[in-house]
Structures are given as C-alpha cells and as structure tokens.
Amino acid sequence: MKVNGSAAVYRFIVKPNTANDPRSLGYLADTHSLSLYQITQIKCQDLYFVRGGLDQPDAEKLAAQLLHDPVTQSVEIDLLEFPLRNANRNQNENTSSRTIEVALRPGVTDPVAEQIVRAGHLLGIPSLESACTGLRFILTGGGLTDDLLHLAAKRLLSNAVIQTYALGEITPTFSTSTQSHDLVETIHLRGLDDAGLLAVSSARRAALNLAEMHAIQDYCMRENRDLTDIEFEMLAQTWSEHCVHKTFKSQVSVYSDKSDTRSFPAHYSHLFNQTIRAATKQVNADWVLSAFTENAGIVEFDGTHELSFKVETHNHPSAIEPFGGANTGIGGVIRDVIGVSAKPIASTDVLCFGPAELPLTELPEGVLHPRRIASGVVAGIQDYGNKMGIPTVNGAIWYDPDYVANPLVFCGSVGLAPKGSNPHATTPGDHIIVLGGRTGRDGLRGATFSSMTMDAQTGEVSGASVQIGAPVIEKGLVDVLTLARDRGLYNAITDCGAGGLSSAVGEMASEQGGDVQLMKVLLKYPGLAPWEIWLSEAQERMVIAVPGKNLNELADLCSQYEVEMTDIGNFTDTGRMRVFHGANVVLDLDNEFLHHGIPQRHYSAVINKPRFETGQTVSLEGKADTDLRKTLLKLLAHSNIASKERTIRDYDHEVQGGTVVKPLCGLRHDGPSDGSVIKPLASQTNHAFVLSNGLNPEYGKIDPYQMTWLVIDEAFRNAVACGADPSRIAILDNFCWGDPTRPEIMGDLVQSAQACFEAAVHYETPFISGKDSFNNEYLGSDGKIHAIPPTLLISALGVMPDWQQSVTMDFKHAGSLIYLIGDFAPAFGGSHFNLVDPNHAIKEGLPHCSKINPRFYLAFYKAIQEKLVSACHDLSEGGLAVATAEMCMAGRLGALMQINATDEPLRSLFGETSGCFLVEVTTENKSAFEDLMSNYSVRLIGKVESHQNIQFDQGRESILNISITDLLNAWKNRKIAGGLE
C-alpha cells in the first residue's frame, strides 16, 4: 500500500504480561478442537496501526495513555516503513515459532479504530488521521508448515469475508477515499423476449420470475420509458420474498395422496390469508392491538402499556460470518421493536447448528465448522444484546447434521410502550429524517459483494456483505427515540432493514408519496452510486416523519445523545416516490405499481403421507434388555438436552431489573427453566409476561403437519408451566424451509400452515407476527441439493396478572407429592431416545396432540393461581425420565417414582408426549389440587425425597435407581464414572 509522503504509520503491539492469558488459552483450546494438535502454544496480541503526522513522543503518549493497560500488558511501538522489512517474520517452516497476523478488510465497520482517532484528538494529537486494528498470533509447536498455518488462519483465526491474514507481518490498510461517482445506468426492458428478461433479473441478482419481469416490462411500456438502475433495484427489493412474502401470499394448488387420512384443501387463493391470518381473525382476541400490519405484533399488557414482539432469522449471513451475522440479526430485530415506538426490554435466541463434534474431514468445502459457527453466533448475540442493555432471557440450541451447511439463527425482541404510542400519521410536508449510523456499501445484494471484494492492497473500499454491528449506536437510537416519542416529535417511524432506505422510506411514502435527495445522506466513505445509497443495508438506522416545527427540538435531543440526524427530503401527496441525486431525478415510480403491481405467484404443492401415522406404535417386546440407566444418562448428555449454562451465562439476563423467572433456576441456579418471566420495572402493576418457545425439526422430518401441532402445544405449554394465563397467550411463527418451487417442499409448507390455522384456532391463541425464510438448501456430499428439515419456531408471549403466580421447575420440598398430569400417550416417533441409539430406533409415528389440551391448561392455570403448585415442568425431549431428572437436579432433591404395573417401562420413561406436566404439590394442597383437576388425567406418580437419588419402581421392583451426582455429570457433560458406552 502507498502511504502519503508526510504521513507516518506507527504500529503498536500490545502483549499480555501473564503466560495464562485467558484469550490465548481459548484460541489454543479451539485449535485442539479442530485437531490441530501440532500447535502447543498460542500467544494472542493486539495490533493497532495509526497514520498521520505523528512523531515518536505522540506515539509514546498514545501507547501509554490509550492503547494498553500498564497493569496487565506491555506495548511495543514501531515506525513502519513500506514494504515491511519484517514481512517474512517467522516464515521459516522449520522454526518452532511462527506468526500469523489478521486485520479487518477496509470498509468493514471498525468501531475501535474510530475511537482511537477520537481519543487521539482528545489527547492532543490532532494530526492523527486514521487507525486500524488487527491481531497477531504467535504459534509454537512442531511441524508448523505453511499448509498448517493457512489451515489455522482460515479455519479459526480469520474470516475471509471480513478479514485478511498474512503469514508473518500484515500490511495495514486504511479506508481511503475513492472517486465519487453519480453514475446511473439505464435498464432496457422494452422489446426484450422472455430469455432476455430473465437474463436481466439474473444478472442483477433480482430473483424476479418471468411474470414479475413482464409486469415491470409492461410498466415501462405504459410509462413509455426505460428504468434507471435504481428504479429497477427498488422494484426488485420491494417485490422480494423478504419484503412481500410472495410465497405465503401465493395461490397454491394442492395434490394430496388419496389414501391420506388427513384432508387438505385442494386450492388456496392466498395461503397466508387462509391459514395464519385467518386464525388470528377467527380467534378475534380483543387484547391483540396489532397483528401482521407493523414491524412487530402488539398486545395489551397491564392496562396502560402494550407489549410488542418480533422474531427474525439471519441464517445466511450467520453461516458466512457467524459473529457479524448474528450480531446484525439481533440488531435488526431490535429495530423492528424500536420501529413500533417501543423500548426493547427482552431478547430471545433460538439456534440450530451442525454437530459440534463433526470431524474436519466431513466438513463440506467452503463451510465453517459448526463449532466455530456456534461460538461466533453466541458471541455475536452476546455482544449486541449485552451492549444494548437488553436481557437475553429465552432460547434454545438444537444440533442436527442437516444444519452443518445451513445453520439457523432466530433472534427475537420484545418491546414495551405506553398504550397507543406508535403514531401512523405521515403528513405531506413532513421531513424524512434518518437517525443513527452512516450509509456504506454494507449488505448490498447479499453475498455478491463478498466475492467481489477488492484486494485490500489496492486500498480501495470493499463492500463486505456482512457487517459487524455497532450496538452502542443502536442504543443511542433507543435513547433518543423513546424521548422523541414521549414528546410527540414524530408522526411515523420505521426501521432500515433489508432494502435500507428504499424499503423504509418507500413503505412510509407508499400511501401518499415522497421526495428524497440522496446527496444529503451521510456516507461512511464517498464513492457510492445512487442505487447503492438507496439500497444499502447499513445497520443502526431508523427513519421518522417529522413536522417542520419539531425539527429543532429533535436536533437538540440528538445532539445531547450524540446521535447523527439527517434531513433527506419530504413526504408529499403526489402518489409517487421520487429520488434525486443533485439536480437529477434518478427514480420516479408510481406508488400503486411499486406496492401493488406485483403479480401473485402460483405454486403447486404435493402432500405425501407421513411414513408413520400419528400415534402409531409398535410392540416393545425384545427391548426389555435396554439399559434404562445408561439410556437416561445418554439422553441427558445429548447436545439438545444437555445443560446450556455456559451459553446462557454469556448473555446478561438481569439488566433492566425485571427478570423474575430466569433462564436458569433452582437451588444452585442451574436448572433449565421452561420459559422466562419478566416484570418490567416501568409497569406500576404486578403484571408480568412469559416468553417461551417450541421447535422440533426431528418431528418435522417425519410429519410437518403433526410437528406443527406439537410445537404450538410445546410453546403454549411452556408458557402455562411458568404461570401464563392460557387465555392471554399470543404466538409468532418463523418458518425456515427449502425451495418453495419444489412441490414437495411446498407440500410440507401447506401442511404446516394448515396446522397453524387449526391449532391456533383450537388453542384460541392468535398469531401476531411471523416471518419466513426459504431456500435453506445445501449441496450434500452425495452431490444432490438437500433442504433443511422443515423447521418451524413458535415463540409464545403470555401475560399473567401477578408475577407472584409464576412457577419454576425445581423440586422445592422433600415430602411433596409428584403428579403426572395431562393426556400421557408416549410414542417414539422423532424421539430423542431414537437419536441417542439410532441402531435400535423404535419406528413409530409422532405423538398425538390431544384436543383436550387447551381446556386442561385452563384448569391447571386455576391451580397455579390458587398457589397449589410448588413446581412445574413440561414433558418434552426425553420424556418423563428426563423431566424428572431435570426437576431433581434443579432442586438437588431426590424422587421416588412409581409407574403402573400395566405400563411398558421403556415407553413410560422415554417416550415423548404432548400436553403433559410433572408437578410438585405439597401434601396440605393434595385434596384442593385433586379436586380442581378432577376432570382431567391426574396421576399421583411419586414423592420428592431428601436423599440425592431418583428411583423408578414398577410394583415392588426397582427398575431404575440413579444418583443426582451421576445425572448432573452427564447433563453438564462432565466425566461419568465408567463412561457411557
């Protein structure tokens, strides 16, 4: 790279003084988990590069006062000359110590670099122009070949999407200006034949099909002109699956198997309206304040406040850059909640990964190892949620080989606002105000730009497709916008998500119209073409409509909270969206066409009969010798069931002071809660709400229809288990599916959507928001394209009138009675029993979902309200035995359980069922509890014991006896005496 004549570049290497540096040890452990055992030691050091008219004393001052901690670190300062003299440091393959250096690509958000410049100026070094950051790794060991170093660098120490690395010393690259340009291309569509139209769609990665391209072509004919590139890009974005959900809005012709006992409509004229939305309409709950019309669903809370909830996915970005992908995923969904004028008060995250123990040899080319994806995603969620000061309180982690190449990251956000505080009154003349981060090439057209990333050595700005978020900028948005809301400073608000300003402003102007001047948009760096500014998906931006009279007050507020604010235009009454770049009109589209001109898609769906019918069971003869003890330990150690404590403690679940039932509960705070309960400090009442979820792709593989009933029941039942009022539970759907143009995939979707309708109506639980992600497919080792299993996440938000009725799952008192309540009908289809011992899988259908469940939950809720329930846990993966074990471990109390003489022990212990709870009731509450539940299946099944053992008896015979210590060791993945095999 070239450095200006007068500018010096200093490098600072900051080294930990201790040999036991935790970060370095963490990297070493990671190399060993990737089987790179040649590496015996890693030293990780921070690199900072600064450029400007600095001299040595300036550099020493920066080092002393800013860049290192004198108590724990030492620092080395070098004035660099280019090319670097030591670029080949430790480059000899025969040395036992070698160096890898890593730096961010230019154009990738580097908040630390920005702060170095700001702080340098504060320290009296105004000549400091720019900075960048990096990491140095000094690896020690034997056989450290170039190949090994490249492997370590690519697999672990850097990510090519956002970083570059060098063996030896890296040459820093500072973001430098490129030529500004205002180039607008013309897209010729008139006169093109079908092939020509599809070629344009594909060349610009618009993902528009022929019918949609024809509609655009017809528009050009009507307007008698060609489109500009920015017009075409805006149409492609506005009509994208992400923004208009065209799969769910499609017509569907359904082809079912005649011998299928289930029946589905032969035709849907609008899949979404006839299933998900129809359920909400039919349930018609008066406490639903907004469903499917805004960025988030909104329900009534405590009489004076409303709760909003939205869950999004960020799958592809998280696959290629796990930290940044998850980071901006949680950032994006938080903006959805800010976008309904609410203050974010809780986050959720549900993650699906490939198996952590996947051998490197089985990792497909170009795919990050699941372990790395998992740690990056968790770190990304931690970074954003913790820094925003929002408690991350509910989630799940699911491992399955089908997610190796296509991990799923579901991020949810809950907001609280005074009732009715989200205005929707955009008025012509209102100013279009952008708040927050600046605009760069971030996220343009997804992954294309990552492959087009310029060589960093050219010093040009690359457009990394995935960005690192800047949570503190987004925090500033919350700070300013809650105050602006309370002072009534804006008439409407929306967030910049997919499609950036184009989507946000386009949506707000869709009723009346708007004029935007792109030259006013604040840029991170010059050189963006008009369409890039309009479409950029730069993070941490919100758009509000502000009457002229309020501009000064808003500007003052923004100044106090150090939030950037830009006035980019006005809303109009022209019925058109117009965008200017200087004096040129670069976009002028009719709103009616832009927002309503998209032709409806038409799909075919083929519904196959499930391989095993629901409730279909087989005889368990021949399974009598199954080792129940070993099975239970293996189940507890299974990655889906095992303790998630390490991950949960990475997230701050206490900030804002309202977390009543925490993700971990019990005597030692390590039991797995069924959901979380929050009592917001801002509410003056005792009202609280529950967050819970249901997800089971293992069921999805067998029968998407039944899976849907079961996960809705699971989310609902988890909420009930924590004390939610069953008549006040709202749910959200998140579909992650394959390619809907394949009829079987569409068939799976139709089954699931139909079940969503039926179950939501049956449980009287309205859907208030949802999101879908299609084309989650990957190339398998067999050379074929595979879809992930049909994966439906149901997130539940339940309200309770008093936090004091919340219930946790840990056994509390020795001597209490244990009841198994609900319609207990265990089956092995999709069970975790089959997962831990696939060679002896019991091939059955999925469990029933009893129609009695919602009524049973209402009765049980009465028992909770009357404080008759000391502990409650739902039966889910692993069945009765796992539920019992979890309650005992959480309470550090034993249990003596008795199963019926007629029961098959294996089925009772490990079969999976819907609609059931295991509950603790004290002896003094026995009769009151039994009276209340008299119309339902209630089985007194055991007793809580003070000793530290679980024993299952059948008649006089003890069939399973195991200590809580053994259970804990398995569940926490510690060593188990004797092992599991």
Partner: protein, 259 residues
C-alpha cells in the same frame, strides 16, 4: 430535603434506569444526564449530593472497558469530579462505572498506588462474560456505602472484565490495612470464596468485588446491588424474600442527606 443524585450517561450506558430505581427506593431523587449536556455546561454539579457512574458499555468497551470514558472524565470533567470527591460526597461506580473509576485513577485513589497505575479490572479469568448471582460480604467500615452493613448482599454480576488485579500482592495488603476493601465475594453462608470459581466469578485478587478510596466516600464495585432492590428480582426469593441490595444505597443516601 431529598438528596439529588447525578447519574452520568455516556453512549453505551445501560443500567442507569436500574440504579435510578434503587436510589429512588433509598430516598433520593436522581437525574440522568448525557455527557454532552455536561460538556455544554448545562448542569451545575454542585446542585447534586451523590454522583453515580452506572453500568453499561460506555463506548462499547473499545480499547478496554471504561478506558475511553475515563479519558473523557480526565479531559472534560476532572475539576468537577475532583471537587465532588474532595468534598466527601458519596460517589458510586458500578460495573462499567467501577472500571471508569479505576482506569481514571480515582480508585484506589491512594497517592502511592496511583502514581504508577497499579490497579486494573481486566478480563475474567474464565475468558467469558459472566452473568450470575453472587453473594457479597460488606467489609469496609471506612466506606460510607458499606459501613455498618452486616447482612450478606445477593445480587447479579454481568461483566466480562471484572477481574480486579494489582501489580503486587503487597498492594492488596495495603488496601486491606487501610480498610479500602469494601466488598468481597463469599459463599451464600458468608464463607470466603477463596478465589474459587464461580463463587468468585472472575478471578479477582483476594475475592475483591469492590473497593473504596482512602477517604471512604468513593465506592467502586463490579456486582449490581441495584438489581436486587425488590424481592421478585431474586432467584432465591422462595427461601429468602428480601431485597439485600438496597441497604447499601440507603447508606449512601442517608449519608448524603445528613451532611
């Protein structure tokens, strides 16, 4: 009259609401003021009797937690802060606020120790952010915030850089002799943590959770007593339905109203 607390609010501060709630229950009023407003001299520091540096991630923890806000303090507000401290008014820095107090040299505040920066809060020994409930034993009788507190305080920690570290063990002894060790991590029954994770959640030397200045009016601590001021906040409310984080704030507020 109710004492008034000035809560400093930097970009990234996020537990300001939690501490405002605790102060309110303890009998103080409070104002949360953004740094920029303070830089613009719109606020008179002398109108306030308590100074609070709340938890959060000021400047996103760039270059080390608390470092950049400490630089801001030294650059813009050194006179006001020094006046506040010298006047003996109660000052508390929680979590990020503690990090700021240490990295700006206000804590430990012993001249001999501050000369060549000997104390810091560094990365947790476990290399992880850690959110969990801990038990704290109030120790210092010099510190106006912990003086005469006898009960164990249960409250959460939520930090990645809370490992209190000194360059030599002698300095820890000095802090102990001068009664500047305000709070230590203990087992729930009060037995010393002995450096053992997770009772001592971050590896701090001598299980130190919080320290005060030689004068005893400035307290810095990593845990969040402001998040245990209602019984519903505690995971152990079934066994101990208390609000054990509150007395510390009552101490500070009472001191402010009496002086």
């Amino acid at each position: 009259m109710k004492p008034s607390a000035l809560i400093l609010f930097a970009p990234g501060t996020n537990r300001d609401g939690d501490v405002a709630q605790a102060l309110s229950l303890a009998g103080a009023s409070s104002r949360t003021i953004p740094l920029k407003t303070l830089r613009d001299n719109k606020i008179d520091w002398a109108d306030h009797q308590i100074l609070v540096l709340p938890g959060g991630f000021s400047y996103a923890d760039a270059l080390g937690a608390g470092k950049l806000l400490a630089l801001d303090l030294s650059h813009y507000f050194i006179d006001q802060v020094q006046a506040f401290v010298a006047a003996g008014k109660p000052v508390i820095g929680i979590c990020n606020g503690f990090q700021v107090l240490v990295k700006s040299g206000i804590l430990p505040g012993n001249e001999a120790l501050t000369e060549t920066r000997t104390a810091t809060l560094t990365h947790n020994q476990g290399n992880h952010f850690e959110c969990r409930w801990v038990s704290l034993k109030p120790v210092s009788q010099k510190c106006l915030w912990t003086k005469n507190l006898t009960e164990i305080i249960d409250c959460p920690v939520a930090h990645g850089e809370g490992n209190f570290t000194l360059t030599t063990l002698d300095q820890a002894k000095t802090l102990s002799i001068q009664d500047q060790i305000a709070l230590v991590y203990v087992h729930s029954d009060g037995k010393p943590a002995g450096g053992v994770y997770p009772v001592n959640p971050n590896g701090s030397v001598m299980d130190i959770a919080g320290i005060c200045n030689p004068q005893g009016n400035v307290l810095g601590l990593m845990p969040h007593p402001e998040d245990h001021v209602f019984p519903f906040q505690s995971p152990d409310r079934i066994h101990r339905p208390d609000a054990s984080g509150l007395p510390l704030f009552i101490n500070g507020v009472r001191y402010a109203s009496e002086s």
